[in-house]
C-alpha cells in the first residue's frame, strides 16, 4: 500500500511537468512578439520593452524556463499585468465563491445522480429508464450558460422566487449565502448529473447480472438491500472514478456559470483576465485548476482501495 501510494504520487509529477511546459510554451510559441501581444494593440514601445524585461522574455528560452519553474516551485505564479498584484493574491481573493459553488454542485449532483442511475438500472428497459437516459442526453447537449439563463428567466424573473445574480459570503448569513447558490448549482450540476447517472446505470446494470446478486435474491435479501449493499457497493469504482474525471467538466462549467450569475470567483477572474489580455492571471488559473484536477484524481485512485477491498496495490 505504501509503495503504491508513493508510486501513484510520483506519477503525477511528469503530468504536472507536462502541464507546466505546455502553459510555458503557449506564450512563447504564440505568433508574433509575446511582449507585444501582452501589451495590447495601443502600447508604446517603452511599455512593450518593460513587459519583456519584467517577464524575462529577452533571455534564452531555456533560462526563462528554468527560472519560471523555479518560481513556480516557490509558489510564485507571477504578477498581473493590469493590477500589478501577485497572481496568488488575486486567486486567494476569489477562491471562496468557486469553492462554495463546486462543493454544492458535487454534493447535489451525487445525491441526485446516483439514485437516478440505480433506479434506471433496476427498472432497466422501462419508461423510467428511458426517461432518465433521455434527460441525460439532453443534459449533455444544452450549453451551461443557456441553462443558467433559462433558470434566471423561469425562477428569478417569472416566478421571482430567488435573486437573479450575485454572491453573499457565508459569513454574512447562511440563508442569503445559500439562496444565491441555488440557481448556479442547478445550472452547473445538470451536465455532471447526466454523466454520473449514465455511468451509475451502466455499472450497476453490469453488476446486476452477477451470480452473487442472484444468490442474494435467492436467500431472500430485500430489493433495497440488494441494490444498495450488493449492487451499488460493487459498482462503486467506476462511479467514483467518473466523479473524479468529471471535475474537468466542472471546472470549465464554473468559469461559465460564474459569469452568468455574476459570482466573483476564479471563473470571473479568468473571464476578466481574458477581456483585459492579462496573461499571467490566465496562466496562473490554468495551472491551479490543472493541479486541482490531477490531485483530485489522485485522491480518487487512492480511494478505490476503500470502495473495493479486492483492489490491493
Amino acid at each position: 500500500m505504501g509503495r503504491f501510494l508513493a508510486g501513484r504520487v510520483l506519477a503525477t509529477i511528469p503530468v504536472m511537468g507536462v502541464v507546466a511546459t505546455i502553459v510555458f510554451l503557449l506564450l512563447r510559441l504564440a505568433p508574433g512578439d509575446p511582449a507585444a501581444i501582452l501589451a495590447g494593440d495601443a502600447a508604446s514601445p517603452e511599455h512593450i520593452a518593460e513587459i519583456r524585461a519584467r517577464l524575462g522574455l529577452d533571455q534564452p528560452i531555456l533560462v526563462q524556463f528554468a527560472e519560471w519553474i523555479g518560481r513556480l516551485l516557490h509558489g510564485d505564479l507571477g504578477t498581473s499585468i493590469i493590477s500589478n498584484q501577485p497572481v496568488t493574491t488575486l486567486i486567494g481573493q476569489r477562491l471562496e465563491p468557486t469553492l462554495a459553488l463546486a462543493t454544492t454542485t458535487i454534493l447535489f449532483a451525487v445525491i441526485v445522480a446516483v439514485p437516478l442511475g440505480v433506479l434506471s438500472a433496476w427498472r432497466h428497459g422501462t419508461w423510467i429508464d428511458r426517461g432518465v437516459m433521455t434527460l441525460s442526453v439532453l443534459g449533455f447537449s444544452i450549453p451551461v450558460f443557456v441553462l443558467g439563463y433559462l433558470w434566471i428567466f423561469a425562477v428569478a424573473m417569472q416566478l421571482q422566487w430567488l435573486p437573479v445574480q450575485g454572491y453573499v459570503s457565508f459569513r454574512q448569513g447562511f440563508w442569503p449565502f445559500l439562496e444565491r447558490l441555488i440557481l448556479p448549482t442547478l445550472t452547473l450540476s445538470v451536465i455532471y448529473i447526466a454523466l454520473i447517472a449514465r455511468i451509475t446505470r451502466a455499472s450497476v446494470l453490469e453488476v446486476l447480472g452477477e451470480d452473487y446478486i442472484r444468490t442474494a435474491h435467492a436467500k431472500g435479501v430485500g430489493e433495497r438491500a440488494v441494490l444498495t449493499h450488493h449492487a451499488l457497493r460493487n459498482a462503486a469504482v467506476p462511479i467514483v472514478s467518473v466523479i473524479g474525471i468529471g471535475i474537468a467538466l466542472l471546472i470549465s462549467g464554473v468559469v461559465i456559470t460564474e459569469s452568468v450569475f455574476n459570482l466573483p470567483g476564479l471563473g470571473r477572474l479568468t473571464v476578466d483576465a481574458v477581456l483585459a489580455r492579462d496573461y499571467p492571471v490566465i496562466q496562473g488559473v490554468i495551472l491551479l485548476f490543472s493541479a486541482a484536477y490531477i490531485l483530485i484524481n489522485l485522491a480518487v485512485d487512492v480511494s478505490y482501495t476503500i470502495f473495493d477491498p479486492r483492489i490491493r496495490y
Binding site: 502553459v23 439532453l138 439563463y149 474537468a248 470549465s252 481574458v274
Partner: protein, 299 residues
C-alpha cells in the same frame, strides 16, 4: 507473400455481407434517423441562409432595438436592432463548419499520434504523458489561453478547440492498435515479413474506422458547444461574424428585457448538439459497443 493472400481475400469477401446488413440496420435505429434528419434540416437552413433570411444579418437598425418576436422580426431583434432570425440562420453555417472542421482535425491528428504511440513503444511513453498533460488542462481554459494569445479568428478558434480533443482520439486509436496487434492475423502478417506501413494500412487502420466515426461525432458535438461557450465568454470568433455564441454574447446585457436574444440561439445550439449526440449514440450501438459514453468522452 503470395500464399496467405488468397485466404485474406476470401475473408474480406465474407465480411462484406454483415457490413451490408449493418448498414441497413443503421437506418432502423431511431437515434441515427433523428440525428440525421435534424442535422439535414439545419444544414439546409445554413446553406439557404442567404435566401431564407428576412434582412441582412449584420444590418444595424437603431430604431428597431430589442423588439419582441413578431410577424416582422420572427425571433425579435437584438440591442442594435439586428434581426435575430436572420442572424441565427447565418450562425448555423459557422457552428456546422466549426463542428466539422474540429472533428476532422482532431480525428486525423489523433489517428496519427495514436498509431505512432501504439506501434512504436519507444515514443509511446512520451506521447502518452504529453496527452495526459493536455487532458489535465480544462479544455475551455486551454482554448481561452490560445485564443487570447493568437487573437480571435475562425482558424485560431478551430485549432484551439481541436487541440484539447486530440488526446481522446489518440488514446482510443492507441487502445485499438494495442488490441489488434495481438490478433493472430496481424502476428501472421508480421511473421511473413509484411512491412510496417502495409500492416498499418491494411490490418490496423480498418479497425480504427468504426470507433473513429463514433468519436468524431462526439467531438463534433463538443466543438459546437465549445465554440458557443468561447464566443459567449468573449474569447471566440470575431464579434462581427454572427455565430450562435456571438449572438448570445450580445444578448447578455439586455437579457432581463430581451431574453429571446439568448434563448433562441441557445435552443439552436442545444438542438444541434442533441442531434449530433443522439446520432453518435446510435452509431456507437451499431458500430462499436466497446466505447462507453462518459468515461473518456467528456467535453
Amino acid at each position: 507473400m503470395s500464399a496467405p493472400a488468397e485466404p485474406f481475400i476470401a475473408h474480406e469477401m465474407a465480411a462484406d455481407l454483415p457490413d451490408v446488413r449493418r448498414a441497413r440496420a443503421l437506418w432502423r435505429n431511431p437515434g441515427v434517423v433523428f440525428g440525421v434528419a435534424v442535422l439535414l434540416i439545419i444544414l439546409l437552413l445554413a446553406i439557404g441562409a442567404a435566401y431564407l433570411a428576412n434582412v441582412d444579418p449584420i444590418l444595424l437598425r437603431p430604431r428597431f432595438r430589442l423588439r419582441a418576436p413578431s410577424a416582422i422580426a420572427w425571433l425579435g431583434t437584438d440591442q442594435f436592432g439586428r434581426d435575430v432570425y436572420s442572424r441565427v440562420l447565418f450562425g448555423a453555417r459557422v457552428s456546422l463548419f466549426i463542428g466539422f472542421a474540429v472533428a476532422t482535425i482532431a480525428v486525423v491528428a489523433g489517428l496519427i499520434i495514436g498509431l505512432v504511440a501504439g506501434y512504436l513503444r519507444l515514443l509511446d511513453a512520451i506521447l502518452m504523458r504529453v496527452m495526459d498533460g493536455v487532458m489535465a488542462i480544462p479544455n475551455i481554459l486551454l482554448a481561452i489561453a490560445m485564443v487570447t494569445l493568437s487573437g480571435a479568428g475562425i482558424l485560431t478558434v478551430i485549432v484551439a478547440i481541436a487541440i484539447p480533443e486530440i488526446p481522446r482520439v489518440a488514446r482510443l486509436v492507441r487502445s485499438v492498435v494495442l488490441s489488434v496487434r495481438e490478433e493472430p492475423y496481424v502476428e501472421a502478417a508480421i511473421g511473413v515479413g509484411t512491412p510496417v506501413p502495409l500492416i498499418m494500412w491494411r490490418h490496423i487502420l480498418p479497425n480504427t474506422i468504426a470507433p473513429l466515426i463514433v468519436q468524431g461525432t462526439y467531438t463534433c458535438a463538443a466543438a459546437i458547444l465549445t465554440e458557443a461557450i468561447l464566443s459567449f465568454l468573449g474569447a471566440g470568433i470575431p464579434t462581427e461574424i454572427p455565430s450562435w455564441g456571438n449572438i448570445m454574447a450580445e444578448g447578455r446585457q439586455s437579457f432581463q428585457i430581451a431574453p429571446w436574444v439568448i434563448l433562441f440561439p441557445g435552443f439552436c445550439v442545444a438542438l444541434t448538439v442533441l442531434a449530433v449526440n443522439v446520432l453518435g449514440d446510435g452509431l456507437r450501438d451499431m458500430l462499436d459497443p466497446r466505447i462507453a459514453r462518459g468515461m473518456d468522452n467528456l467535453q
